[in-house]
């Protein structure tokens, strides 16, 4: 049992104690005595980041619909809280009941980005759960992970009992059903894992042996038991309308990163950008119907009291009835003064009228993501945005009263040259020209253009999974080049830390040997690595040295076609042959049309006949 008085005293001494308080509106309260399965949903970052995440909202309420299960939340305690917890021997606890996570049946982590991995280790350690799966015994929870990084969870293989591939709505139910049965019979851990491995999309890392060649490449990945399938295929839900979506969401007291109702319009993306992992792993596109969305919006507004609705999806403007939907939502909620926000909006597909319409709703900055500075490179990455699109959209936007434009680019993309970098500055200038090209009375004062570059990180399951990343030096040089090239009036330039991008690249395409590096880095004090003020590269480099692994092997090496990739035993539905074909087309600068225009034969159609 946790000493609640002690915890209370500690909360009085840390920054933002509300992070650990819980008790928000719509938090689910159950008596733990009434359930047979306790699931700690763990987000390996702070509360305000984790609570912004849609997947967590869905699965939390979904699991709590079950009478036999209580799903509770736990986040990574910030460094000051961690210190106090260790000092006072307070184990990691959930927000709902403040019970120690170690006594739960499951601890489920969602992996949204690579740089949260040390937080996962730290949370297990704070919970008093053995870090290595092989050290866990009957009393310990099963540690399970899902989310986009789980598709290549190899660097975490030593720490995870189970990995859930794909969309969890159906799978989690099957897993909990199985667990309920198993628990009644009092079987051993291994027998549960064996049975779980038979659930489609469930991956049990310890049931696979990995062998390596002398040069360090993976030689083979083979199941070591008949209970495990050769390949693990991701799960998807076929029909979103009949799939669970919460009609209430927790309304945090604290100001979180995305503090609003989230309506998920569709899953997947039909554009086929070659660098984008989400665009590949979430295929195929499945839309929620407009009627369903309106119905959900009504309930969510009523049940949360939120003042804003965000229409969220990978490429929101591709929703087939977006204009209609936006108009209807605006009409419906006008009296309630509820605003709409449309992230990742691609204005290339909109009419001027529509831009004016949404402008009434929300007058924040306009974002545009050409990703690359020249048409040549945009063709290489299959990003279907042209200079004309940009000119038309920003001009329309300026006329409609906008004066702030954000431009997003990636540097270090395959085949990039100085001309492409110059092109980034060129586009910033073009936007400025569009603005001054308008008569003075037609535009708002105070033009502001923000150019942001992220650094390309080759990701598994993309056509660029074989490509080397630029070295940190190259990226720094390119950033230096852009700093000079973008020294223009009204323009501000932001860039990403190359060291973080480097580590991301290492772990994104990592294999199991990196587990030891994670452990060493964590022991060296690494946590909250995605927070600039907490990140220390030395600890990481030291961890690679300690384990005699060269990070450059993972980040900078070009892979050959026949190389066995550490994630080849995972099947996301998109074939390796298709990815290779796309890589070759990229080399030739050839475009692949949007799935809505024609099917490129990515392999999805074979698996999910009828939805694609």
């Amino acid at each position: 049992m946790l000493d609640r008085k002690l915890l209370d005293r500690v909360l009085g001494q840390v920054s933002r104690p509300v992070r650990y308080m819980g008790n928000e509106y719509n938090m689910v309260e159950k008596d733990p005595e009434d359930v047979s399965i306790r699931f700690a949903f763990a987000f390996p970052d702070v509360y305000e980041v984790g609570m912004s995440h849609l997947g967590m909202k869905i699965l939390y309420h979904l699991m709590n619909e079950r009478e036999d299960t209580y799903c509770e939340r736990v986040f990574a305690p910030w460094v000051d809280m961690e210190e106090k917890m260790r000092e006072n021997r307070i184990p990691l606890f959930t927000l709902e009941t403040r019970d120690p996570v170690s006594k739960f049946d499951f601890v489920g982590f969602t992996l949204q980005y690579e740089m949260c991995y040390t937080n996962l280790l730290n949370m297990l350690d704070l919970a008093g759960i053995p870090l290595l799966a092989k050290d866990r015994t009957q009393q310990d929870p099963f540690v399970i992970a899902g989310g986009p990084c789980a598709y290549n969870a190899e660097p975490l293989a030593d720490f995870l009992d189970l990995v859930a591939m794909g969309e969890g709505e159906q799978q989690i139910g099957e897993l909990l059903d199985l667990y309920g049965e198993w628990k009644k019979k009092d079987g051993d851990r291994e027998s549960f894992l064996r049975q779980a491995a038979a659930i489609p999309g469930v991956y049990v890392p310890q049931f696979y042996d990995v062998t390596y060649r002398d040069d360090g490449q993976v030689e083979s990945v083979n199941p070591n038991t008949a209970a495990a399938p050769d390949r693990i295929a991701k799960r998807i839900v076929r029909d979103l309308d009949s799939t669970y979506y919460p009609d209430r969401m927790i309304v945090p007291f604290m100001d979180i990163v995305h503090d609003r109702i989230v309506l998920e319009l569709f899953r997947g993306c039909s554009r086929g950008c070659r660098f984008c992992q989400a665009g590949m792993i979430y295929r195929p596109v499945r839309e929620r119907s407009m009627d369903k969305l309106l119905e959900l919006a009504d309930k969510l507004v009523k049940n949360t009291g939120y003042e804003e609705i965000s229409l969220s999806s990978l490429s929101t403007s591709d929703y087939s009835r977006l204009e209609d939907l936006v108009k209807q939502l605006m009409e419906r909620f006008r009296d309630k003064r509820i605003s709409l926000s449309l992230p990742s909006l691609r204005l290339d597909s909109f009419s001027r009228d529509f831009i004016e319409e949404i402008q009434k709703v929300r007058k924040t900055g306009l974002t545009f993501a050409p990703e690359a500075g020249t048409q040549r490179l945009r063709d290489v990455i299959n990003k279907g945005v042209t200079e004309d699109d940009l000119v038309r959209s920003v001009t329309d936007a300026f006329v409609s009263g906008w004066n702030t434009v954000k431009l997003y680019f990636m540097i270090g993309l395959p085949t990039e040259t100085e001309e492409d970098l110059q092109g980034i500055a060129g586009l910033a200038r073009l936007v400025t020209d569009c603005y001054y090209g308008l008569e003075r009375e037609k535009r708002q004062k105070g033009l502001r253009i923000t150019v942001s570059t992220s650094s390309f990180v080759p990701k598994p399951f993309t056509p660029f999974q074989w490509e080397p990343q630029n070295t940190m030096e190259e990226l720094r040089e390119k950033q230096g080049f852009l700093r000079k090239a973008l020294r223009m009036k009204h323009v501000e330039y932001n860039w990403h830390d190359p060291e973080l991008s480097f580590l991301e690249a290492v772990f994104a395409r990592g294999d199991r040997r990196l587990g030891a590096v994670l452990l060493s880095a964590w022991k060296n004090g690494a946590r909250f690595d995605s927070w600039a003020d907490q990140f220390h590269m030395e600890g990481w480099m030291d961890a690679f040295r300690q384990n005699h692994l060269d990070p450059g092997f993972y980040a900078y090496r070009k892979r050959e076609r026949d190389e066995v990739l550490p994630w080849d035993h995972i099947d996301v539905g998109v074939s390796k042959a298709f990815l290779w074909k796309e890589k070759e087309k990229a080399g030739r600068g050839e475009r692949t049309p949007d799935c809505r225009v024609s099917c490129a034969g990515c392999g999805i159609r074979g698996t999910w006949e009828g939805i694609c």
Binding site: D8, T304, S339
Partner: protein, 228 residues
């Protein structure tokens, strides 16, 4: 229509900040579907005002806010709707209709009372309180955002008493509101002379002066013959 609403902030939500509370109340009012008056601007929010900010970590038995509705409403109905929509741990105790001309609560409130209870079951406040009264003056540093100033607690404190069983509870009555504010931890630190204690703080009420008497903001209600 203007209403003054009295509510509590209980143990389970005591770590929310004043800003958190304001946001939460706005959303509560939306959930309660009250015919609310809206602020102007791109992001309109319900028009409301609070009597006094409650520090993070403190519970309260009597907080007050002002809300404005476009139409009249039955008081019991208003209370019921708010309580249904509030997060657990915040409870509306009572509401009264108030004349629009009454000045803001913030400008009227002049006094706040607190009850401070230590975790230690054996603790006795009496010796510390006796020392406090025996000294002619007690100067402490008061830090605000802009400056540090010195104040004499003997003058500033309205009342201070050990009470409850075995004098385990401390009762503090301090100046509050825009006319001058004194935080209870400043006084408690002086009483404990720097020693660290596990204490829980509860604000037991906020008061204003009316006809020479201390009353709660509920006394501004029309039926009680409020000001204006």
């Amino acid at each position: 229509m203007r209403f003054v609403v009295e509510y509590t902030k209980e143990e389970r939500v005591k770590y929310i900040s004043h800003l958190d509370l304001m946001r939460s109340m706005q959303r509560t009012i939306r959930r309660a579907e009250l015919p609310i008056a809206w602020s102007r601007g791109y992001h309109p929010h319900p028009v409301m005002a609070f009597a006094s900010a409650l520090p993070v970590g403190m519970t309260s038995e009597g907080e007050y806010m002002d809300i404005h509705l476009l139409e009249g409403m039955d008081i019991p109905e208003l209370e019921k709707r708010l309580n249904r929509a509030l997060p657990k741990g915040i409870t509306v105790k009572q509401a009264v209709a108030v004349d629009e001309k009454v000045p803001s609560l913030m400008s009227l409130v002049e006094r706040a009372d607190y009850r401070i209870v230590p975790e230690d079951p054996e603790w006795d406040w009496k010796p510390a309180v006796d020392v406090f009264w025996s000294k002619p003056e007690i100067w402490v540093e008061k830090k605000s955002k802009k400056k540090v100033s010195s104040i004499n607690l003997k003058e500033a404190v309205r009342d201070i008493r050990a009470c409850g069983e075995h004098n385990r509870e401390l009762f503090l009555s301090l100046p509050a509101g825009s006319s001058g504010n004194l935080k209870p931890d400043l006084v408690v630190d002086a009483l404990l002379e720097g020693k660290d204690r596990a204490l829980s703080f509860c604000r037991t009420g906020l008061y204003l002066r009316k006809d020479g008497k201390w009353v709660t903001p509920l006394a501004l209600g029309k039926q009680e013959g409020g000001i204006g």
